[in-house]
């Protein structure tokens, strides 16, 4: 006799925790964004009742998002950095995942261990490592000067967009390779052999069989690393620390760490969250459609 409440009661503490410390806090951001500001202490006053919401903060954020305004510039820059980093991650990550899934044999175990190590080394430590290398008297400048490419040290850490994008690639590419490897590893080898048997060259087999079959994996892995990249501020702070390369995460962080204009900051968080939710919905829509197609073709 299973009592009705027996199993749910195990879940109850965890559910209560997530409701109190995930759901309620999420609503608190909404209440602050649509709340008012205390005129004396300039502290945000949340408005919990949607009927009494104020839209001043959100209006100023949306006004800033118009082309040419402050937030617009930051948003466009964020998009550009994330897009470039994603492209870089794919250009590096796809060949590596492909080699691991298809060609590595005796070295596969070793390569998988090496692949997973960055997951367990603190992100901040990995950035610290690059700061040491990119300092004016660091190894990167020294090597480039020894080879003769540079005549004097280049200020890699002085607000360079290229350094930020490279650091983002370095930081996030492991999180792309692992799911991509899982996708490529699952592809049935017999369909590749069929392509070869029917006379396709290896390149044609790749373009017409492997690539289409891994399309969904590419999308999944890209969304997986794009979500945290859109909220990243610490990479930028560590590698550049200049408003010239400031991303949306830096903008939000600035509003909250300095404690002023939290209402505007909260509105910005909502704009970012809505955008990311759309990104995820697109991904889910593609996934559901793909699985429906598979089911149909099986019937």
């Amino acid at each position: 006799m299973t009592r009705r409440w027996f199993w749910p009661s195990f879940a109850l503490p965890g559910v209560a925790w997530l409701v109190l410390l995930f759901l309620v806090p999420t609503y608190a951001v909404v209440a602050v964004a649509f709340g008012t500001v205390d005129p004396i202490f300039s502290q945000p006053v949340p408005v919990w009742n949607p009927l009494h919401w104020q839209f001043a903060g959100m209006r100023s954020v949306l006004a800033g998002l118009e082309p040419g305004h402050a937030f617009w510039t930051v948003f466009v820059r964020t998009f550009a950095y994330v897009a470039l980093s994603l492209l870089g991650c794919l250009l590096i990550g796809y060949p590596v995942a492909y080699y691991l899934a298809r060609h590595a044999r005796r070295t596969k175990g070793l390569l998988l261990v090496l692949l997973v190590i960055p997951f367990w080394v603190s992100y901040l430590m990995r950035m610290l490592a690059w700061i040491g290398l990119l300092l004016p008297d660091g190894l990167v400048n020294k090597t480039l000067m020894d080879v003769g490419i540079l005549s004097r040290p280049y200020g890699w850490l002085d607000g360079q967009a290229s350094s930020v994008v490279l650091a983002l690639i370095y930081g996030y590419v492991p999180y792309l390779i692992l799911p991509l490897y899982a996708t490529l590893d699952r592809i049935d080898r017999s369909v590749l052999e069929a392509g070869r048997d029917l006379g396709a060259s290896p390149i044609r087999t790749f373009l017409h069989v492997t690539l289409p079959l891994s399309r969904h994996g590419i999308l999944a892995a890209s969304v997986l690393i794009a979500l945290p990249m859109f909220g990243d501020y610490y990479t930028n702070d560590l590698i550049s620390n200049s408003p010239r390369t400031s991303m949306i995460g830096n903008q939000i962080n600035l509003f909250f760490q300095e404690g002023t204009q939290r209402t505007v900051g909260a509105s910005l968080v909502i704009v970012l969250s809505v955008f990311l939710a759309l990104l995820m919905s697109y991904y889910l829509w593609v996934t559901v459609r793909a699985s429906a197609e598979t089911k149909e073709s099986l019937l």
Binding site: P8, V24, I92, W130, I131, P202, D232, G249, T287
Partner: protein
């Protein structure tokens, strides 16, 4: 020419260029960290110019070494304290949630499944700001160790659930049903049969939560209150661009070694005790997509 023809005839052969890219990637991903670790043994104050080997930044220097600088030591202690608290709270909650969700066949299970996955896809800064606002404006919880623990547990639970649920699904309900048929009470079957079967997953959960906590920066920083609640990642963030000594590299190295050792240990224990169990790939997005169908 012969090589090319061989490769063309046998598409499963070794493409050298791909192999080279892969090995270059591995070198590129790991060597910088190795160099940073090496520089913790630098004899000079520089973190970028090698001046000979010494252990002064580890224990030799009476003021600025890891062993003697109180701020470095307190950062390590705070990191370990938070990791311990996070493990103690997040693992039991996550195991309970996983058991409840897997065996519970009611209307409530589906929304809870969604709720559990959302912390995994929410950018950390969004989570940190929501916690900050709710603590300050609604709950009245002071920032510091308590707030840091509450925040870390919130994002750790979901990882525990995914690990434990993977194991639960591969075990199936048969063992418990057998125990019930043989006269065990529901709670007895759970305690004597299911829980021992879950030990490897619970152990893995502990280690993953340890690593998550040690490595976390954003939530821990937002929940911190000044110097005394500084963790190692916060210390690195604050000092990395400044004129700091290789002692910073040494502190970071301590944490890297701690994490890698615990993960390595966990891997071997898990492999040893859960032999022949297929690994579950915990990709949050795929999980959500799977629910959707």
């Amino acid at each position: 020419m012969k090589g090319l023809r061989d490769w063309f005839a046998n598409p499963w052969g070794q493409p050298r260029a791909l192999g080279a890219i892969t090995w270059l990637y591995m070198v590129w991903s790991i060597v910088p960290v190795g160099i940073a670790i090496l520089f913790s043994f630098n004899d000079g104050r520089s973190r970028s110019v090698w001046q000979g080997f010494s252990t002064r930044w580890w224990w030799g220097d009476p003021n600025n070494s890891v062993l003697h600088d109180p701020s470095l030591r307190s950062a390590i202690e705070q990191s370990l304290r938070l990791a311990g608290l996070d493990m103690l709270i997040a693992v039991p909650l996550g195991v309970g949630l996983a058991i409840g969700l897997t065996r519970w066949r009611g209307y409530g299970a589906r929304p809870v499944n969604y709720l559990m996955l959302f912390p995994l896809v929410t950018p950390e800064i969004v989570m940190a700001i929501s916690l900050l606002l709710v603590f300050v404006l609604l709950y009245g919880i002071a920032l510091g160790t308590e707030a840091q623990t509450l925040g870390q547990v919130t994002f750790s639970i979901s990882y525990v659930v995914i690990i434990v649920r993977g194991r639960l699904l591969s075990i199936g309900p048969e063992y418990e049903e057998a125990a019930r048929d043989l006269g065990a009470s529901q709670l007895g079957a759970l305690r004597l049969v299911l829980l021992p079967l879950l030990y490897p997953a619970i152990f893995a959960g502990f280690i993953v939560v340890f690593a998550l906590s040690i490595d976390d920066f954003v939530v821990t920083q937002y929940m911190s209150s000044g110097q005394s609640t500084q963790t190692v990642p916060i210390l690195i963030y604050g000092a990395a661009r400044g004129a700091t000594t290789p002692a910073l590299n040494a502190v970071a190295t301590v944490m890297v070694v701690a994490t890698l050792l615990s993960v390595g240990l966990a891997y071997f224990v898990y492999r040893w005790s859960a032999r022949a169990q297929p690994a579950t790939s915990g990709n949050a997005l795929n999980e959500i997509a799977a629910l959707e169908m």
